[in-house]
């Protein structure tokens, strides 16, 4: 039996893959513990999970600083106002948790650098979980240098000089990427690291959501429209434009994940819900319009569905570009799209065989990847090596 300590940020897109991998490990009889921001995500963990809270001293848990920013500015704020302050505050409680739990191996999300620094300081074997391929690509020398500077300052306050590296977020032992190389493409060089591409986690473990399935009509084409959990309540313009376009496309039915206050103005062929059973819906629709969130993109392509992508922030412009370059998606400019362009895009999305053919090609690849089971196997390999003294210096 191996002892495995998970540390991930309290964000849906990062937590879901970790939950699926942890479930595999527990089923095989291994001991899993979670060092997390328990105030925000305790209810999303398994009922009997072993939890070390990282936020006991925080009045409120960390929140995404400004949900309204877009593009590169959201990347800057995500680092400056979210990732780095969380890292500073979690170093001491996580180090204490790790010394108490005595893990054979740690699993650390790549956007929780506090976890990476503790694993490095204690000399523990650890795996990085990468939940979006945008993070492993060299996008521009200026942004890469800025990221390295942010990390250098953080490390300097906690690690001895000889342990400081350019990218402390990537484990020198194993970096598990929840995507495929086919989807990622080769438009950009990668940061050097010991990658293994395991594809989407595929595990579920999410809460059940009611849905009026009899609303669907057999003779209609069906769409799912979602901007994800962070941007859903950003503003209503995009949703209003989609509704105006769909009002003129009665042969299409669309489920739109949006504030339910919009339901009153929705045409008869648009169903507005503020939360949906996304995986079950993806099994029923013909195409997806979304923000190019990494999980939603992989879940849609895994079902051979073409996408129209309207990226807003964070990694979304990079993932949107991957989908478009692979020939499986169309671009929508989130804040500018007009009803006429939206209507033309929807018509093209539902009538272009090449988009479906490329979605199928990517889908076959995503389905063939080992997912959570492959990630669990890689984590256990590290745990087994942990008995070799060279890999285990302090803890």
């Amino acid at each position: 039996m191996a002892r495995i300590l998970f540390s991930v940020p309290p964000l849906t897109g990062h937590l879901n893959p970790a939950l699926a991998v942890a479930e595999c490990l527990v089923e095989q009889g291994h001991q899993v513990a979670w060092a997390v921001h328990a105030k925000q995500i305790r209810d999303k963990l398994p009922p009997r999970a072993w939890v070390y809270p990282l936020d006991a001293e925080d009045a409120d848990g960390p929140g995404i600083a400004d949900p309204k920013v877009r593009g590169l500015e959201s990347v800057r704020l995500f680092f400056e106002d979210y990732t780095l302050p969380i890292a500073e505050r979690m170093l001491q409680p996580l180090e204490a948790s790790a010394r108490s739990f005595q893990p054979d191996v740690m699993v650390v999300d790549h956007q929780l650098p506090g976890g990476a620094l503790v694993a490095r300081k204690l000399g523990l074997p650890w795996a990085s979980f990468v939940t979006t391929t945008a993070s492993i690509l060299k996008m521009s020398p200026m942004v890469d240098a800025w990221v390295a500077n942010q990390y250098r300052a953080l490390q300097g306050r906690y690690l001895p000089a000889e342990l400081i590296v350019e990218r402390p977020d990537f484990s020198p032992h194993r970096v598990l990427v929840f995507s495929t190389e086919t989807l990622m493409g080769d438009a950009h060089a990668r940061v050097e690291a010991p990658y293994r591409f395991v594809g989407p986690a595929k595990g579920d473990g999410r809460r059940k959501v009611d849905f009026p399935w009899d609303w669907f009509q057999a003779d209609k084409k069906k769409l799912l429209i979602s901007l994800g959990t962070v941007s859903r309540d950003r503003d209503t313009r995009f949703f209003e434009v989609m509704m105006a376009a769909l009002a003129e496309l009665p042969e299409v039915q669309a489920v739109m994940v949006a504030p339910e206050s919009l339901a009153a103005q929705a045409p008869a062929n648009v169903l507005v819900r503020d939360y949906v059973p996304q995986l079950e819906l993806l099994d029923r629709v013909d195409a997806v319009i979304c923000h190019a969130g990494h999980n939603t993109v992989c879940e849609a392509l895994s079902r051979d569905l073409p996408l129209a992508v309207a990226p807003i922030r964070d990694d979304q412009p990079v993932i949107a570009r991957q989908v478009i370059d692979a020939g499986a998606g169309l671009f929508i400019r989130h804040g500018k799209v007009s009803p006429a362009v939206a209507k033309a895009t929807i018509e093209k999305l539902l009538s272009t065989p090449e988009l479906v053919a490329n979605a199928r090609r990517l889908g076959a690849d995503l389905r063939a990847a080992p997912g959570a089971a492959g990630a669990a196997e890689a984590v256990l390999e590290l745990a087994q090596q942990a008995s070799e003294p060279s890999l285990r210096k302090v803890a």
Binding site: E73, H334, K336, A340
Partner: protein, 97 residues
């Protein structure tokens, strides 16, 4: 603004409209204060295309991408049409614009 700058601004606006080539951009009010990230929602890949179109017009005295690589992340986020116009107008001799 000098007439030299005005000519550069008109050319930059023209290249932005031609490169984006979507319905909204034709009527969108573009001026010196217009920001590429916030106001135009342009991705970096699109900015590069606009830069290429401008350089194709003026020739190789300009090195827009090299100029950009000297910017900080804060400058890049706030980059405006006026910043680009200032660089182009400052680099080119007035007679060429």
């Amino acid at each position: 603004m000098s007439s030299h700058q005005e000519q550069v601004l008109a050319l930059v606006i023209d290249k932005i409209r031609a490169t984006v080539n979507e319905d909204w951009i034709a009527d969108f009010d573009i001026g010196l204060e217009t920001r590429f990230n916030d106001d135009l929602e342009l991705e970096s890949i699109e900015f590069v295309k606009i830069a290429d179109a401008i350089q194709a017009h003026y020739g190789n005295q300009l090195a827009i991408i090299a100029w950009l690589s000297g910017k900080s992340i804060h400058e890049l986020i706030g980059l405006s049409v006026g910043d680009l116009v200032d660089y182009i107008a400052g680099t080119l001799a007035p007679a060429q614009a």
